[in-house]
Each structure stands twice: as C-alpha cells, then as structure tokens.
Symmetry: C2
Subunit: 335 residues, 2 copies
C-alpha cells in the first residue's frame, strides 16, 4: 500500500498543484448520500444523468445506494436506491462501462446480506462497501467475508470516527487489517473534524494497515465548510480513496463537491466539464427544491461533535433561521 | 513575535481543540469587504448591529470600510463606508468601546492619505490598514509612515499573493520589515490557494519578519470552500492575525465566516452567541436580497487563479447557472 513515506510528493508552486498521484481513486456517492435527503426517491432521468456524468468524468466508482433490508424498510416508503435491486441497476446502467465500477453500500444490521447480495456473476455490482459503527466490527467482518466470497471487491466504511478513542480505533483496525477489503474509510459522520485531527487519524490508519495492501479512504461532511479541505488533508497525508458528490449534495451540510476535488486533482483522466454540465442541468434546478449544503445549524452540531439530526429537523421546521434558539437548545441539552 | 517554534502547541483530541493561543487577534471586515458587493451602501441600522455584535463577541478590530479618495470616487455613487468620514463613524460608534479597535482600510493609489487621514487625536479611528499590490510597496510604505506619524496603529495588506513569485515576495517583506506596521497580511485575493501553499507562504512571512515584532496575518476568500480551512492552516503555522466576516459575507464567494472561526478558537474572550443573533436578524434576511458565498463560477476562477470579476459579472447576468458556458469562456481566454 501507499503511505506517506512511499507516495510521490505533491508539488506546489505558483498557479497550484503540478503533479498528481495516479493511485488516487474517486468514489461518487451522489445518489447514495443524496438519497438520504429524499428517502432515495430520485427519478430515473436524474440517476441516469449522474451515472453518465461519472463515467464521462473518469470517476472510478459510482455508489448508487443501499442494499437495505426489505424486512426493516418498507418498499412503498422508499425509492429504488434504498435497495438497489438488479432490475433497477440494469435499467440505468445498460451496458456496463469499461472503467467505472458499480458500488453499493451495505449497512451493518440493516442489510439481509446473505440473501440480498447475489453471487457476483448474477449482478451488475462490482463492489460492496460495508458501513458500520465500531461496535459492529465483528458483523461487518462477516459481511465483508460474505461479499468477498461471492466474488465482489469490498470496502469498509468506519462511521462516527470522532467518537472513537485511539485505543479502540487501533483494535478495530487490527481486526480490519485481516479482512479482504481493498480499503478502509475514515468517516467524519458529524463533520466535526479539523485538519490536524484528519492528519492524525489518517496516519493511524496508514500505520495499522501498513503492509496489508489496503488503501485508506476518506468520507467528509461539510458542516464546518471543511469537507473539501479535510479530503485534501487526508489525501496529502496518504489516503488514496476519496468520496465526493456532485455539487456537494448529501444529507445535512452535504459532502465534498466533486467539481472542487477534480479541480485539485491534476490527473488528466478526471474531467470537470461533464460535472459542470450535470450541475447546470440537474443540481442547479434541484437545489431550489431540496435543502442541502452549509448552514449555521449544521456548523453548530459539527462544532459540538453531534449527529446532524437535530439540525436537519430544525432546518425543516417553520423557523429554519432561528440560530440562537437552536444554539440555546443544544447548550441546554449538553448540560 | 510568535513563530511556529515559539507558539504554544495546539492540542488535538477527541471532541476537538482543547487549548488556545491568547495572542490571536481577530479583525472583522464584514462592513468593509461586504461593502464591495453594494458600493458600501449599508444602512445605519445594519452597520450598528454589526458593530455591536463585534463588540459583544470580543472581536479585536472592526474594519468599517475604506478611506477612498473623493477625487476618484464620487460621493453620490457610493455609500458612507467608502470614505469613513468622522461624522459617520461617530454616529455608529457613539462612545468608543474599551476593547474593540476601530480600523479602516487605505488602498494604495486610491486614498488621499495626506489630507483624508486626520491626526489620531481628531479621529475615532485606532488603526489604518494599508492595502497594496506588490508594485505599490514603496507607496504603501509612505502611507504607513504617514499614518504612524499621525499616531495610528498600522497594518499592511499584501494583495494578490498568488501572483507573486518567491524572490519578489521576500524582497517586499524585507522592505516591509522596516516599516512600523504591527502586522503584515497574506491576502488570497483570488481564493486560489491550497493548504500547503498557505503553509509555505506563512512560513516565508514568519521567516523574513522574524525579530521585527510584527505579526503575520491572513485574509481568505471562499472561492473553493477553503476560506475557513486556509485561515486555520495559517493560524496553525503561526499567523496571529485573522480576518473574518459575519456569515462569510464578502465580494464574490465571500470570506472566512466569523461564526466558524470563533467556534474553533477556544479563547473564552470570543463569544459565538452574539454572532448567531446577528446572523439570524441581519444576514439570513439579507442573503435573500444579496448574492454572496460559494458557487461554481467562483470555484472556477479560484481554480484558475483569476480575479473573480468575470464570475461576479456572470452571476449577475441572466444565466447565473450556465457553468459550462462560463468554463468554456475561461478556457478560450486562457489559450
């Protein structure tokens, strides 16, 4: 694997970055993370546009959504991308692209993985990304083994990293080091991390996973307008797998914008123009109907290292700009 | 002066930053930089609210606007804060606050400084911040001497830093090292800098100014959603003077949001609640009438290290979301 010692040094100079790291892999989670805003009810035209955009932009992976349990989640309450059934994937993808891999997320305790993840030769899916909290690591290991044995590339998404102490984190990573996942992601679920924390965490991941061949990945949230910069911090420290979404869409404050990340990565295989087309045609109009992106309530939950759910609720209330009332409420709850 | 070796180390840990640096000085330029959007035509009620907010929040300096030349700028075309006449300052400020200093900006070649900057004992102003491009350094030195001799604290704002090569920069700083300014600011005029460039520049400023007692300052723009993170990068590297604006208001993509910066700085003298009140009462409604903050055209000029004026013009046109047309235009102009 690459780590900070082995990766080629990025060069800075007048006018910006000159060099690029060919091993960097981008995963677009526009439909998956954006789907958390609207219960995964994107129409086919939008999903098809996003898919075509990612292929044209040279993105390495596109993550459509979840393999959600139909026992837990009623199919009439959620859109297709909560379940990513094969027929839905086929309808959008058509002929599989040569270079862009199809990914889905499998949430620990929310996926009937033995049944719902088919053998790879019966699926459009290339890669299963297992998401878990630290107490679910044993379950996640079983999920990864199951998907790996069925023929998939696998990835591990360790959520709520800001609530894990270093001793527990090292133990979790030592377990993950033995699984077949190609990469392990740092997930800043609450958008609470500052740059030096990202650097420290990336170094811990690189150190414990050293010699396993696994990449370190980073998934940001933009609560404090740090999604892009924290993604760069992880990259500079040695992370090779980066998540982004078109126009930064995603639950709450959203994610690292793909158009900013491609602007930074000078690898000629990544193209910004298709992303700008999609922003113009899809996300500029959509942003007038759906609420995502930075706003002060998300900044406050990020500052306090809290789940954004209170901020999401407040933004959807009849007082979306009562920042002081929201701050006072958070302060009262903290005491 | 503080530099990276001497400043106390910031501590990171679960839950965020623990320590703070008491020498950090915040300058709020809400009215000054925000005034670039509306030709400095803020009404008294708004200016008074911002001023009271800064005092209550513990901000060290509030910058009202420019000491613009009345020969160059017609008084009937600009608001009061293009000129910062004493009567206007008195009307807003009333009794001078104990801890918050009053600052104005004097632009090189756009200020009749001999006439319009009064002796300090006849003024509400505490601090004159001289802004210049590198070719105006000799003029800026004369402006700083003039203001210093009249009794003011002075600061130097070196603009368009991303267009200055290192040899010229060191020469400029060696000249600035001899002037009486209390601080010299790095100004990312185009919002084009990435974190490592900010770090490198801050180190150059610290090195050349070492032993002079001058602080290094940082003024960000948010073209690439990096205003806050770059401000933190400068701070962590050793900059002691930081610019911010309430709700990130400012020309184009705006500036580093004061509410994010105060959330990061754990110095108990800074208070976030008054800033949230001002965001609720003033800037949430204002944002529905005025356009500032991140959008893709600003990201593109930032990526290309260009002045935001083309993006500002495009955002005010009848096609504010035609990102592809704008990108193609920039590409054609580049060739």
């Amino acid at each position: 694997m690459s780590n900070t010692k082995e990766t080629p040094q990025l060069k800075t100079g007048k006018g910006g970055w000159v060099h690029y790291r060919p091993e960097i892999k981008l995963l677009d989670c526009t439909i998956r993370d954006g789907g958390l805003i609207n219960d995964h009810k994107f129409d086919d035209k939008l999903v098809k546009n996003v898919f075509d955009t990612c292929v044209a932009a040279g993105v390495d992976y596109i993550e459509f959504g979840y393999k959600g349990s139909k026992k837990i989640f009623a199919q009439n309450k959620f859109g297709s991308w909560k379940f990513c059934d094969e027929d839905d994937l086929k309808r959008i993808i058509g002929k599989k692209p040569a270079k862009t891999k199809i990914a889905v997320m499998a949430d620990a305790d929310r996926t009937d993985y033995h049944e719902d993840i088919l053998p790879k030769d019966k699926s459009m899916i290339d890669c299963v990304r297992v998401a878990c909290y630290i107490h679910q690591i044993p379950l996640a290991m079983d999920m990864i083994k199951d998907a790996h044995d069925k023929g998939y590339e696998t990835l591990l998404q360790l959520m709520a990293i800001s609530n894990i102490n270093e001793h527990d984190l090292v133990e979790a990573l030592e377990i993950a080091a033995k699984c077949p996942a190609a990469g392990v992601y740092i997930v800043d679920s609450f958008g609470s991390l500052y740059s030096e924390q990202v650097r420290d965490l990336t170094k811990i991941f690189l150190r414990v996973l050293d010699g396993t061949g696994k990449d370190v990945g980073f998934h940001a949230h933009n609560n404090q307008q740090l999604a892009f910069s924290n993604t760069l911090e992880a990259l500079i420290t040695g992370a090779n797998r980066l998540d982004a979404t078109i126009n930064g869409i995603g639950r709450g404050a959203g994610n690292c914008p793909l158009e900013l990340l491609i602007g930074f990565l000078h690898n000629p295989k990544f193209k910004i123009r298709p992303v700008l087309e999609c922003c113009r045609d899809v996300f500029a109009p959509l942003s007038k109907q759906m609420d995502w992106g930075y706003s002060i309530p998300y900044a406050l939950t990020g500052q306090m290292n809290q789940h954004p759910r209170a901020a999401i609720k407040m933004r959807a209330s009849d007082k979306p700009d009562d920042y002081v009332g929201f701050y006072d409420q958070l302060m009262q709850e903290e005491s």
